[in-house]
C-alpha cells in the first residue's frame, strides 16, 4: 500500500511571525477539486500555515469546472465575509476577470499551482494586483520532460526511439503547452512519437489507452505520461504479460508513487510537481500580505528543489513525493 507522502516540514521559520492576539482573518480557497489526491496535500499545508497564523480557511470545490469557480468567487465577493482569496484555476483565462473584481473589492488574492491568465509559458503574474503567484509552468514541465525523454532514449542508445505519449487531456490548455514544449525539445533527436493517447488524469483510462497502444505497436520503447498515466501503463503492461523492464518510462508529477517507482528503477525519471510546497508558499505569502501588507509577487516553487526538479534513480531520495499519486 502506498504510504502517504508526508507533508514537508516547514522549511524555515515563517517570515511573518504568528501573532495570536491579532484578529482572526477569513480566507477563501477556491480549489481545483476538493476530492483530488494532488490537491489534498496543498490544502493540508494551506490549512496548517493558516492555523498557525490565526486564519480561518473556507474551502470551495471547483470540481474541475471553470464556470463554477467563477461563480464561487462571485459568491465569495458578494458575501463580504472574506479578507483573502486563494485561487487555483481550473482554466486560467476564465478566472482573470473575476479575480480583478475580487482585488477591486479589496480582497488580498494569491494564486497557486495553476496559471491565472492565458499564457501557459510563464510563471509571471498575469493579473495586476495579485499578492503572490506560486505556479508551475506547463511549458517548463514540458521542456524538462522532453529533455528526460531524450536522455532516457540515449541511455539505451535507441535510435530511433519510439515513444508513446499520453496526454492528460489533449485539447486542454495545459496539455497543449506541455506537449508543444516537449516537441520543441525532442525535435531533431531520435525521439519519435509513434502513438498518442489520453488519460483524463485517470489510471483506468490510461490503462485502456496503453493496452490498445501496446496491441497496435510492437515496437514501443518509451512511455511518457503523467504519474496517473504511468500507473495505468504499469497495469496495462502487467496485464499484457509483458515485463516492466521492456519499456522505458518517464513521468511527471513527483508523486510518492512516482518516487517509489523511480527509486526501484521501474521508471527512468520523473519531473517533479510540488503541491504541498506550493500550498505552503502560497499561504505564507498570504499571511505576509494580510498581516504585513507585503506583496511577494512571483514565487517559483521549484527554486529550492535539487537536480532542476527532476527525480532520477540517484536523486530520488532527495525528494519527498508530495502527493500520493
Amino acid at each position: 500500500a502506498a504510504d502517504a507522502g508526508e507533508a514537508p516540514a516547514p522549511s524555515d521559520d515563517d517570515s511573518a511571525a504568528p501573532a495570536p492576539t491579532e484578529e482572526t482573518l477569513q480566507v477563501a480557497f477556491i480549489s481545483f477539486a476538493v476530492a483530488n489526491t494532488y490537491d489534498e496535500p496543498m490544502l493540508a499545508e494551506i490549512e496548517r500555515v493558516a492555523a498557525e497564523n490565526n486564519i480561518e480557511i473556507t474551502v470551495f470545490d471547483g470540481n474541475l469546472d471553470p464556470n463554477l469557480q467563477v461563480t464561487l468567487v462571485q459568491d465569495v465577493i458578494a458575501s463580504g465575509q472574506y479578507d483573502g482569496l486563494i485561487t487555483q484555476p481550473v482554466f486560467g483565462p476564465a478566472l482573470v476577470d473575476i479575480t480583478r473584481q475580487a482585488i477591486d473589492a479589496g480582497l488580498t488574492v494569491v494564486n497557486v499551482d495553476q496559471i491565472l491568465g492565458d499564457d501557459f509559458t510563464t510563471g509571471a503574474t498575469q493579473v495586476e494586483g495579485l499578492a503572490a503567484n506560486v505556479v508551475f509552468v506547463p511549458s517548463e514541465i514540458g521542456t524538462k520532460f522532453g529533455e528526460q525523454a531524450v536522455e532516457a532514449c540515449a541511455s539505451q542508445d535507441l535510435d530511433p526511439c519510439n515513444v508513446a505519449f499520453l496526454h492528460d487531456v489533449k485539447a486542454s490548455a495545459i496539455g497543449v503547452a506541455l506537449y508543444d514544449a516537449f516537441n520543441a525539445v525532442v525535435e531533431g533527436t531520435p525521439v519519435q512519437i509513434v502513438a498518442e493517447g489520453e488519460t483524463f488524469y485517470n489510471p483506468a483510462a490510461a490503462q485502456t489507452a496503453v493496452a490498445d497502444i501496446l496491441t497496435a505497436n510492437a515496437d514501443i520503447d518509451l512511455i511518457a505520461t503523467s504519474d496517473q498515466g504511468l500507473q495505468g501503463a504499469v497495469q496495462a503492461i502487467e496485464a499484457a504479460g509483458r515485463g516492466l523492464d521492456e519499456f522505458l518510462m518517464i513521468g511527471y508529477g513527483g508523486s510518492a508513487w512516482g518516487k517509489e517507482r523511480v527509486s526501484e528503477g521501474v521508471v527512468y525519471s520523473n519531473v517533479v510537481q510540488a503541491p504541498a510546497t506550493e500550498g505552503r508558499l502560497a499561504m505564507e505569502a498570504m499571511v505576509d500580505a494580510l498581516r504585513n501588507g507585503n506583496n511577494q509577487g512571483d514565487i517559483d516553487p521549484f527554486a529550492d528543489f535539487p537536480n532542476n526538479g527532476v527525480m532520477t534513480r540517484d536523486t530520488a531520495d532527495q525528494f519527498t513525493g508530495e502527493w500520493v499519486g
Binding site: 474551502v59 469546472d65 501557459f120 485539447a171
Partner: protein
C-alpha cells in the same frame, strides 16, 4: 427575478390511470379542480428555500448577490427555456452543451482573427447562426431521418465537440488560449442598463418571448400538440416535423446566443468536454425539477425558470452559508428529493 413568466392557462393534470368517477360535480369542485396544484407544488419549496436563505444569510438578498446569480444563470436560463420547447414538442436535445461551447469557440476565433468592431459583430452573428444551423441539423436528423432524438443529439454532440477542438486550433495565437478581452465585444457582458447586467436583460427578454410564444401563439399550441399526441396533431393538419425542427432550431439558436453571451462574460473558452456535458445535464435537471415532462406534451417555461433558479439558489446558498463542499452534494440531493417529492405528493392529493 424573471420568474413571472406567464403561466399556462390550464395546468396540465396528471394523466390519471383512471380513477373514481365523480359523477356530477358542483361549481366549487370544478373550480378546485382547475386550481393549478401542480404549479403550486414546485413554487412552495422554491419559496421555502428562498425565505430560508434570506433569513440564514444576510448577503443572500443583497442586490449584488441576486444580480450575480441572475447574471451567471442567464446563459443557462436561455438554453433551458428553449430546450423546454424541444421537450414539450416530444424531442430532447443532448447537444445544447456542445453547441454552446462550439459557438463560443467560433465567435471567439472570429473575434481574434478578424479583430475590431467588425470582428466582434461578425463573431456574434456567426456564433448565433452556427447554433441555428446545428439546431436545424438536429431537427432534421431526428425527424426526417427518424433517428431517435436522444441518439441523434448525443451523436451530434460528439461531432460538435470534435469540431470545436478543430476550430479552436485556428483561434489561438501560439500556445495561448482564445481570449477575447476586447471592449468591442465585452460590452455585451459589462453593460448594466438600469443596474441590471445586459445578459440578465437578454435572458429576461428571451424567457418572456419563449414563454409567451408557448402560451399564446398557435405555434405554442402546435408544440404542445406535437408532443402530447403527434398522431392527433398530424390529423389536425399540423406539420409535426416542421414544428419539431423549429423547436430544435430555437434550442440551437439559444445555445448559440448563450455561448456568445458567456464568452463575453468569461471572456475565454475552456476546452473541456466535461463542461459541455455538465451544462446539458444542468439544463435537463433544471427543466425536470421544474416539472416539465421528458415525455413531451406538458410543461412550461416558467417551470423551467423555477427549476434552474432553484438549483442555482441552493448552490449560492451553500457558498454563502459556508457549507462544507463534502456535504453539499448530499444536501442538494436531499433537498431536490424533498421538493420533488412534495410536488408528487401534492399531485396525488389532488384526486
Amino acid at each position: 427575478m424573471s420568474i413571472e413568466t406567464p403561466e399556462k392557462t390550464a395546468p396540465a393534470p396528471p394523466r390519471a390511470p383512471r380513477s373514481g368517477g365523480a359523477g356530477e360535480q358542483d361549481a366549487l369542485r370544478a373550480f378546485l379542480r382547475r386550481v393549478p396544484w401542480r404549479s403550486v407544488a414546485i413554487v412552495v419549496p422554491f419559496l421555502a428555500v428562498f425565505v430560508a436563505l434570506s433569513i440564514g444569510s444576510p448577503a443572500f438578498l443583497s442586490a449584488q448577490n441576486i444580480g450575480n446569480v441572475l447574471d451567471r444563470q442567464s446563459g443557462i436560463l436561455i438554453i433551458a427555456a428553449a430546450a423546454t420547447l424541444v421537450l414539450i414538442a416530444g424531442g430532447i436535445d443532448l447537444s445544447v452543451g456542445a453547441t454552446y461551447m462550439f459557438t463560443a469557440v467560433v465567435c471567439g476565433t472570429i473575434i481574434v482573427r478578424v479583430g475590431g468592431e467588425t470582428g466582434a459583430a461578425l463573431g456574434i452573428i456567426v456564433g448565433i447562426l452556427a447554433g441555428l444551423v446545428i439546431g436545424l441539423i438536429n431537427g432534421i436528423i431526428s425527424t426526417y431521418l427518424k433517428i431517435n432524438p436522444l441518439i441523434a443529439t448525443l451523436a451530434m454532440s460528439f461531432i460538435i465537440l470534435g469540431a470545436t477542438k478543430l476550430v479552436s486550433q485556428f483561434g489561438k495565437e501560439g500556445v495561448g488560449q482564445i481570449r477575447v478581452d476586447v471592449p468591442e465585444f465585452r460590452w455585451l457582458a459589462l453593460l448594466k442598463p438600469l443596474g441590471v447586467s445586459l445578459p440578465t436583460w437578454i435572458a429576461f427578454i428571451v424567457l418572456i418571448v419563449l414563454g409567451v410564444v408557448l402560451w399564446r401563439t398557435t405555434f405554442g399550441r402546435y408544440v404542445y400538440a406535437a408532443g402530447g399526441n403527434a398522431e392527433a396533431a398530424r390529423l389536425a393538419g399540423i406539420r409535426v416535423n416542421v414544428v419539431r425542427i423549429a423547436t430544435f432550431a430555437i434550442a440551437g439558436t439559444a445555445a448559440g446566443l448563450a455561448g456568445v453571451i458567456d464568452l463575453a462574460r468569461t471572456p475565454s473558452v475552456p476546452e473541456n468536454d466535461a463542461i459541455a456535458t455538465t451544462l446539458t445535464f444542468t439544463v435537463l435537471a433544471g427543466i425536470v425539477v421544474g416539472g416539465t415532462s421528458i415525455l413531451g406534451g406538458a410543461g412550461a417555461v416558467w417551470r423551467t425558470v423555477l427549476g434552474i433558479l432553484f438549483i442555482a439558489m441552493l448552490y449560492n446558498g451553500f457558498t454563502l452559508l459556508r457549507i462544507d463542499p463534502l456535504f453539499q452534494g448530499i444536501a442538494l440531493g436531499v433537498i431536490i428529493l424533498v421538493a420533488v417529492g412534495f410536488d408528487a405528493w401534492s399531485r396525488t392529493r389532488r384526486r
